[in-house]
Amino acid sequence: MASNLCAIRPLARLKPLIRHQRCIKLRQRAYATQQTIPNQGQPPPPPQAATLEKAHHSMRRITLKPPPPAMYNKCPSPVETFEASQIAALDPIGSRTKLFSRSNPDAVKVGDILLVRTRSGDPFAGVCINIRRQGVDTAILLRGQLTRVGVEMWYKIYSPNVEGIEVVQRRAKRARRARLYYMRKPKHDIGSVENIVRQYQRQKAALGSSDVKGRDANAHKKKNNKRGRN
């Protein structure tokens, strides 16, 4: 193999030799320098043991205490943890979470007509044109009419001031946009949803509240809170 290498590259053996020679030269130079340093009448350098000890001391291995368990591992997403604890308190049965959950096929989608009952004031109905999902801060934007004037209202779905959210009518076809802001234009404005809501309420009364109760976010809570507070 080596002979083959030599045959292919005749100078292949030369390189290590040159390298070796360079090493020798360097070593010789070092000797020369050492000898040329004048010994200015000083005592010889301290014994090697001391220098070794000093070197050993300066490079002493510093060992620190192992770190305590990281909070990050315990709670990797603090905001979500905090929000989950709040949602558990504000929506104990999880109906509101389910009503707006992405994984629920029957969840509210943009374009649906919703009726929101609040602790104070009249209920408000309108088309849901935006769902802003943000944990406990999740909010919906409803567009309806009051005194023939287009009105948009934001509702925080987990707010204790919101007593219930009902789906009045579902959109026939899935909206192909996440935000239906085009419905503000006169061409697309749905106008008043009063008739649809009235019809829904009539149906609800005829059927009895058993059917619509499931859709209602917290119908039972409403009755308790209606007069007691404020």
């Binding site: 510093i62 060992t63 620190l64 205490k65 192992p66 770190p67 305590p68 990281a70 909070m71 990050y72 315990k74 709670c75 997403s77 603090p78 905001v79 943890t81 905090f82 929000e83 604890s85 709040q86 308190a89 504000l90 602790r119 943000q134 944990g135 406990v136 801060d137 925080k156 987990y158 707010s159 204790p160 001031n161």
Partner: protein, 314 residues
Amino acid sequence: MASKHPLPPSFLPSNILFPRRSTSLRPPHHPHHQQRGIKSISPVRPNRFNHDPSLPPLGSTKTAAYNRLLAADTLPLRTGALATKSGMTALYDPVTGARTPCTVLQLDRNEVIYHKTRARHGYNAVQVGCGWRQPRNLGRPLLGHLERAGVSAKKEIAEFRVKGEKGLRSSEVGASIGAGWFQEGQFVDTRSKSRGMGFAGGMKRHGFGGQPASHGVSLTHRSMGSAGGGQGSGSRVHPGKKMPGRMGGEQVTIQNLKVLKVDEENGLVVVNGCVSGPKGCLVKIQDAIKKPWPEVLPGPPLPETVAEPLRATT
């Protein structure tokens, strides 16, 4: 007197034969003795060097400033802690239904590293570290510093000024500080580095009005306009003129934030409102200096700290 010496002629002054002598050597015999000589007409000037043991101590010294600081009671009685900003959310009051915007801060492995003392460093402060960093990424001086404190390698280190020895004793070196250090309902001050905006113009950085959109304005709608007057004001730009430049990325203190929730298990402190800086930034939390100090468990008893005696010069 007159009998012993011959009288001078009447046109000459009476004391021509008896020149005035130095008052220091011989005080005037007569209380109404008239003195002649060169007298300064300018009023007597006070001593240029207002230095005398009987004078009140100077107020413009470091010691005096420190004593004023103690008297003002604006130094926290205990150390603060380091946290990471996790983000913002809202807190709902189940009774009133009120929504409060809040910031979630997470405390991670806070440990006391060192005490800075008035005698040695000029002020009392507690050095606190948080998080963890690979020790191989720390320098040997810092490793030795941490080793002496008996704490693990720290990612971030900061110090919190405290009042006197008692403030230092509230947290011993090596002690760990968790979210339970703060109580729900107390007020805190937060310090953090604000979001860096880069090089920003005058409108964004200082709220300048810009220039009109029309009326002959071209290409300078957002520029700062004039930088100062002409001859009347020296034909120069005055120092401190607000101009475009680097915006943000500097420490911002937000005072009097209420602690809404404390989750000791997860190291969470939820404060009211916003805290400057992006998510994940380091936040220094300490008791609010403009509110009553929170009631904490009493530490080891200590003798009352005595204010340092005022000295005229420092």
